[in-house]
């Protein structure tokens, strides 16, 4: 299964780059992530709880950052075992491109699933993976961007608290 897309993030390329290497950001952005520890050099250990169709499982796995070319590109590789649910693994080639004050993040994801996930979830796995990727990059975008002025009033307080938290942290 392959996914190719890009996002424009309202943050400069160096901010985006350092966010990608930050365990706290990754934890916040990976949907269902319970734990994320480690460093870009040694890789990250992660625990993710996810439900794919009828299969719910706790995936324990490792995320490695390879082919690092700061601040322009890297490969994020992850593999998780979900016990009886099977396994999931994938690699994302990420390229960053400065665009004025913003950064365009290109990603090219290849993902594989095995075991019960493949047996029960094959017909829904593509949609699931796309949803996961969308959610990851949306959260990533939110972590980096300033809150928009025209933000809806509803939940505005909470949203403001979340939005741009990483940027505030590093600026």
């Amino acid at each position: 299964m392959q996914l190719t897309d890009s996002r424009t993030i309202k943050a400069d390329i160096n901010t985006v780059w350092s966010a990608l290497l930050n365990a706290d950001v990754l934890k916040e952005c990976v949907p269902g992530c319970q734990e994320m520890a480690g460093s870009p050099e040694t890789g990250f250990e992660a625990v993710v709880v996810q439900k794919v169709g009828p299969v719910k499982a706790t995936f324990k796995g490792k995320v490695d950052l390879n082919d690092m070319n700061p601040p322009n590109s890297l490969t994020i590789e992850g593999a998780g075992k979900g016990g009886a649910a099977g396994f999931a693994k994938g690699a994302a080639d990420v390229k960053l491109e400065a665009d004025g004050d913003s950064t365009i993040l290109h990603y090219d994801v290849e993902a594989k699933v095995g075991g019960k996930l493949a047996q029960l979830g094959s017909r829904i796995i593509d949609g699931f993976a796309k949803k996961m990727a969308d959610e990851f990059f949306t959260r990533f975008q939110n972590a980096l961007e300033e809150p928009e002025d025209d933000e809806q009033e509803t939940d505005a307080e909470e949203e403001t608290a979340k939005k741009g938290w990483f940027k505030r942290l590093v600026s």
Binding site: G86, G114, G115, K116, A118, Q119, L120, S122
Partner: protein
């Protein structure tokens, strides 16, 4: 007038009372005192090297008795294969070891790696989560043709390649066939796939085993079609347990369809582990496990060429088939694409020259073995499809081209080494055309057209080799067992009878039909006869039920044993009536002296046998119990004509089966209602294969159709009301009942009829479609119409 008892009567299935009221006793209903539960940890990758298995954390989990890996099976044999095929160069097939638990490598998704035995299934599953298994994935071998290329990744490192065998049949005909094809007026070529199927019996596999340390005896309860075969294979080849210390029981079994013939690792595991842990061990397959551990069926890729003269007479036939063996050789696997497939390539036709080439290939998939029909559906499908295509290319009616080539004289020796004893193919064809109102088809097609639908009619004529099999013949062909059958007829003192048969009933209704045969021979009520099967401690050594063999081989053994009973009973009756043995006649359950009014009832004779106060003790022994083993002289050759009428929705490609007619020649019929039921079941599975069923793997060797969400089973609304007839009878000439067998026919004849019907519908509407691979799902049909 229909009979109300005995041979030819539609006696109601006595076993249905318990099945339909939930009182059947299946293996999973057996729970032994103190039993532990086994949970298998299976590979979730198709191909990989096992680096380590760490069970230390799991062993400390609550309720865990023991965790087993391949290390525990070092002194134990592999799961054996029961057939050795010799290839076209005179070499025996490549035969890899099939360990009970994976040794060093995993070779398919579902390959068992370790087993947790615990107090409860929940605890076993929890502990399994804590077993750490490190596997390095290897490139999976999936495509059969790629698997045979030089330098291809090997499924088994210790074999020279992924080729199990390269079989040529009949090798001596090869050049003559090539020549005939070269010089022929017309050659029709067809490339096709016979889709991989999962058998899906309603009851998944189960094994419960115990070891009695006081007597050193093992008992295995298992879902098997042939408990004696399991005892022999597991006892002699895997665990080294002599037969007298091993009892195998297959109680009520909820469907087999071939998948429960084979000896599986889980049975050996439970039997082995029961002794190791000192308590009974039970394993019940989940449906998910069944998909990835029950042997699959079919999976052939074939190119077939049919050469004809200008009048459509068949001159020569050549086939080139790749047959998927999966990762290991299941019990009968090598024989399916060879001796149960190549030998049937003549079909119903007098094609003088035939050459069949089969390359059996190892891949990283679940092992493939017999599934209802076993090799014969694959043969029939390709032959009937190429004949249909040839008719259309030659501009000859598909019925006429078949008639022009039918074998009409019997016995007939085919160029593929079998001799058909009887048959009348024109008769079954005539019957089919009448049943299916073929004459009215054009009118119905017009109606469909008015409704915006495309109507088509497809025909198939099949032959099968059943009643397997003559032991001396199969021995020459590589079988490592004989294929006789046995029966013990035990007449009790009051005249009731227990028949212990080596056949096994798992839906076939033997308890009813076998009783009808014995009742008919003696002239007593069927209710006096009980059929005992499925327990090695009760029944004589028998080879079980598959290949439509039970009535032809098992029934014949029962007839022979009953003949011995009657002969002895006549001696006793002669003594009781002070008459000459030669004058004694048995009719309607009474012995009479010919030409007199002297008579003695069946019950008086049987009582005398067990209370021998007035008895010829100096001439014969007391008691009335006889055993017979029957080894058939030939296969039996059921045949039939099948017709399928479909409507295709041109907007969606959806196929609706409007009518299905089956005119079979099964030889003599014991119970017409049971025969009809067998044909119905076969048709449902054949139509299932042709229309909806498909076992799919992705490019990584992951099983995609691993549940009923993705593996479609045929449902009642996919099927029409069946029109079934078996009044065209040419009795088998070499067994005492004149029977041929009916269990697989429906699944053999129906797929080509359905595919040809769809092709017919599309061609009538002007689409240039000559073949669509099964299953004919709407997307495939639509794509074919719009390509």
């Amino acid at each position: 007038m229909p009979k109300d008892g005995g041979i030819g009567a539609s006696s109601k299935r006595r076993e249905d009372l318990r099945f339909l009221t939930g009182k059947g006793k299946y293996t999973d209903d057996i729970n032994l005192q103190g039993q532990a539960y086994a949970y298998f940890i299976r590979s979730d990758v198709a191909h990989g090297t096992i680096n380590s298995i760490d069970t230390s954390a799991a062993e400390k989990m609550p309720g865990v008795e023991q965790i087993f890996t391949a290390k525990d099976f070092e002194g134990v044999g592999g799961v054996p294969c029961g057939w050795q095929v010799t290839d076209r160069h005179g070499e025996v097939m490549q035969e890899p070891k099939h360990p009970v638990l994976a040794e060093g490598k995993v070779r398919h998704v579902g390959d068992p790696i370790a087993v947790v035995v615990a107090d409860s299934l929940a605890e076993a599953r929890d502990a399994a989560e804590a077993v750490e298994i490190d596997i390095t994935e290897l490139e999976p071998v999936l495509n059969m043709k790629d698997a045979l290329k030089d330098g291809a990744t090997k499924v088994h490192d210790d074999l020279t390649s992924n080729l199990c065998y390269d079989w040529g049949f009949v090798e001596e005909n090869r050049e003559a066939v090539d020549e005939a094809i070269k010089g022929a007026h017309h050659v029709t070529t067809l490339e096709l796939k016979n889709n991989r199927l999962v058998a899906n019996p309603m009851e998944p596999r189960v094994a419960v085993a115990e070891f009695d340390s006081s007597t050193e005896e093992y008992t295995l309860y298992t879902t098997s079609q042939n408990p004696h075969v399991i005892r022999l294979l597991m006892g002699a080849f895997v665990l080294g347990i002599p037969e007298h210390r091993l009892r195998v029981v297959a109680p009520d079994v909820g469907g087999g369809f071939g998948a429960k013939i084979y000896h599986y690792a889980e049975e050996a595991f439970c039997t082995f582990a029961a002794k190791q842990v000192g308590r009974p061990v039970k394993w019940t397959s989940s449906r998910s496990e069944a998909f990835m551990s029950d042997a699959h069926g079919r999976d052939h890729v074939t190119k077939i060429e049919l050469a004809m003269d200008k009048d459509g007479h068949f001159l020569a036939l050549r086939t080139d088939t790749h047959a998927n063996m999966g990762a290991y050789l299941s019990t009968f696997a090598p024989s399916i694409p060879t001796w149960l497939h190549g030998t049937l390539m003549a079909g119903n036709y007098k094609t003088p020259l035939i050459y069949v080439n089969v390359k059996a290939v190892f891949t990283n998939t679940v092992p493939v073995d017999a599934y209802r029909g076993a090799g014969r559906p694959e043969a029939t499908f390709q032959l009937e499809r190429v004949v249909d295509k040839a008719a259309r290319e030659m501009g000859i009616d598909p019925i006429e081209i078949r008639r022009r080539n039918f074998i009409t004289e019997f016995p007939y020796a085919t160029p593929v080494a079998v001799e058909y004893d009887t048959g009348d193919y024109h008769a079954t064809m005539d019957k089919l055309l009448e049943m299916s109102d073929h004459a009215g088809f054009d009118k119905r097609a017009e109606e469909s057209k008015k409704n915006g639908k495309l109507r088509g009619f497809g025909i198939a004529h099949y032959i099968e080799a059943c009643g397997i099999a003559p032991s001396n013949l199969v021995g020459q062909l590589g079988a490592r067992a004989g294929l006789y059958e046995s029966a013990t007829v035990r007449v009790n003192a009051t005249g009731s009878i227990s028949v212990m048969t080596g056949s096994h009933s798992h839906g076939q209704g033997h308890e009813t039909s076998f009783a009808q045969v014995v009742a008919d021979m003696i002239g007593i009520d069927e209710q006096q006869i009980d059929i005992v099967h499925g327990d090695t401690s009760k029944t004589p050594m028998g080879m079980g039920t598959y290949g439509s063999r039970s009535i032809a081989v098992g029934g014949s053994a029962m007839v022979r044993a009953t003949e011995k009973i009657i002969a002895k009973a006549k001696k006793i009756a002669a003594h009781l009536m002070e008459a000459s043995e030669g004058d004694i006649e048995l009719k309607d359950g009474a012995f009479t002296v010919a030409g007199t009014d002297k008579s003695v009832a069946w019950g008086d004779v049987t009582l005398a046998a067990y209370v021998p106060h007035n008895y010829p003790l100096e001439e014969i022994e007391p008691g009335l119990e006889e055993t017979a083993f029957y080894d058939p002289a030939n296969f039996t050759y059921p045949s039939g004509a099948y017709g399928c009428e479909v409507e295709v929705d041109p907007e969606t490609g959806k196929v609706t089966v409007l009518g299905f007619s089956a005119a079979d020649d099964f030889g003599n019929i014991i119970n017409p209602m049971i025969v009809e039921g067998q044909v119905h079941g076969g048709l449902a599975q054949g139509i299932g294969q042709a229309l909806v069923e498909n076992c799919a793997y992705d490019e990584n060797g992951q099983l995609l159709s691993g549940s009923y969400m993705d593996y479609t089973m045929p449902r009642a609304d996919d099927l029409p009301m069946f029109n079934v007839d078996h009044s065209s009878i040419t009795p088998c000439t070499h067994n005492p009942l004149g029977v041929k067998g009916c269990g697989e026919a429906g699944a053999i004849g129906s797929p080509p009829a359905l595919v040809s019907a769809v092709v017919d519908a599309l061609q009538r509407a002007g689409h240039d479609v000559t073949h669509i691979d099964m299953p004919l799902t709407p997307d495939r049909v639509w794509a074919a119409m719009n390509s």
